[in-house]
Point group: C2
Chain length 237, copies 2
Amino acid sequence: MNLILLFESDFTATDTVIINDRRFHHIRQFHQPAQGQRLKVGLLNGKTGSGIVISLTEQSITLEVLLENQPPAALPLTLLLALPRPKMLKRTLQTITSMGVKQIYLINSYKVDKSYWSTPVLQQDNLREQLLLGLEQSGDTVLPEVHLRKRFKPFVEDELPQIARQTRALVAHPYHASPCPGASTGETTLAIGPEGGFIPYEVEKFQATGFEAIHIGQRILRVENAVPVLLARLFPV
Amino acid sequence: MNLILLFESDFTATDTVIINDRRFHHIRQFHQPAQGQRLKVGLLNGKTGSGIVISLTEQSITLEVLLENQPPAALPLTLLLALPRPKMLKRTLQTITSMGVKQIYLINSYKVDKSYWSTPVLQQDNLREQLLLGLEQSGDTVLPEVHLRKRFKPFVEDELPQIARQTRALVAHPYHASPCPGASTGETTLAIGPEGGFIPYEVEKFQATGFEAIHIGQRILRVENAVPVLLARLFPV
């Protein structure tokens, strides 16, 4: 937790928050701050700044808050990710969020096991928890939007052309693909397949919508590694 | 498992292997190959190629093996990684291996919890298992060397100058650092700190040995993401 994420409901006055939940227990266990110490804070979907420790008890912490900085810049990216298995989904959502992606479509694909769509991780509150963890990790405040698309064909045919319009549209695919292009600050749409990859029909559907197939080398990486590798290659520091 | 890693002990003739362990159960469960089908195989520390399924029983699989290709190129990198907590260590070893790192030093740092050095993950057989999983994932055969260095100062003072000599020597550090340099095929030495980072004393020790401090942006990433991001930025596809 490199930033304590604050919610409107934490405020007891314009510049004062009292926290007594998971965040409090984390602060108490790992930060052990003294009175007067400054902690990095940020208001959900708002500015970042510092929280001066006014008091720390067994039950709660009180901070005097000054919010004056913009959160880190978002990536100009819409990410389409074939739904990973639940355990990897959690980690990947945290990764994606911590790297600054704000538009996430979890999509179906032939190699996505149907059971994955029933995981409790996809429930609104659980999804939100992973996103908050990603924001706290990276010092960001802006909650990504996660869209679930359980049917591949209608999504690709009806929605995708509008999403990808006038963007650098790329589908990561290890075979018959060009090397991943270099860093750019332009708007990008990136599709990443499941373990085992998109099937040829799916890659063709993306290509028919104007997507270019790209690869990141001879080595096949797990999705949880392919995501940070692709984002690192596609956008500047 | 994108490549079935073979050992000398699997061979019953120059071109025939019989497999009946974890690899067999994986093949049976996920590949379900028919007789005559080709599977991607590779000999540990040797060439890759194909294995034609001769027979598949309840107990074992027999392959006729043709090894004719070189494994993917290694990264020209020596990686110094502050020992992560055990759970993250496993994943990170797989990640590092799958990305082609062949020289790994797990080093101590002020913020490495002493207990981490007692984890069973660091035992020879367990380490090897994570490395093999990384090779199988990425289609590689060349086992990385993992060196354990429990004392920071003697390592940095006595060993590091020789390791880093005539390489691009970099220490990843979020503060007072230059942006991560671009991709190069030159020999590189890269040090990555623990969660919470190297302490200033440690960064200074690296700098005194000729290391440049570099950052990967305003966002603080978990080690498991910082590793693939750094490797993707520092080396070409």
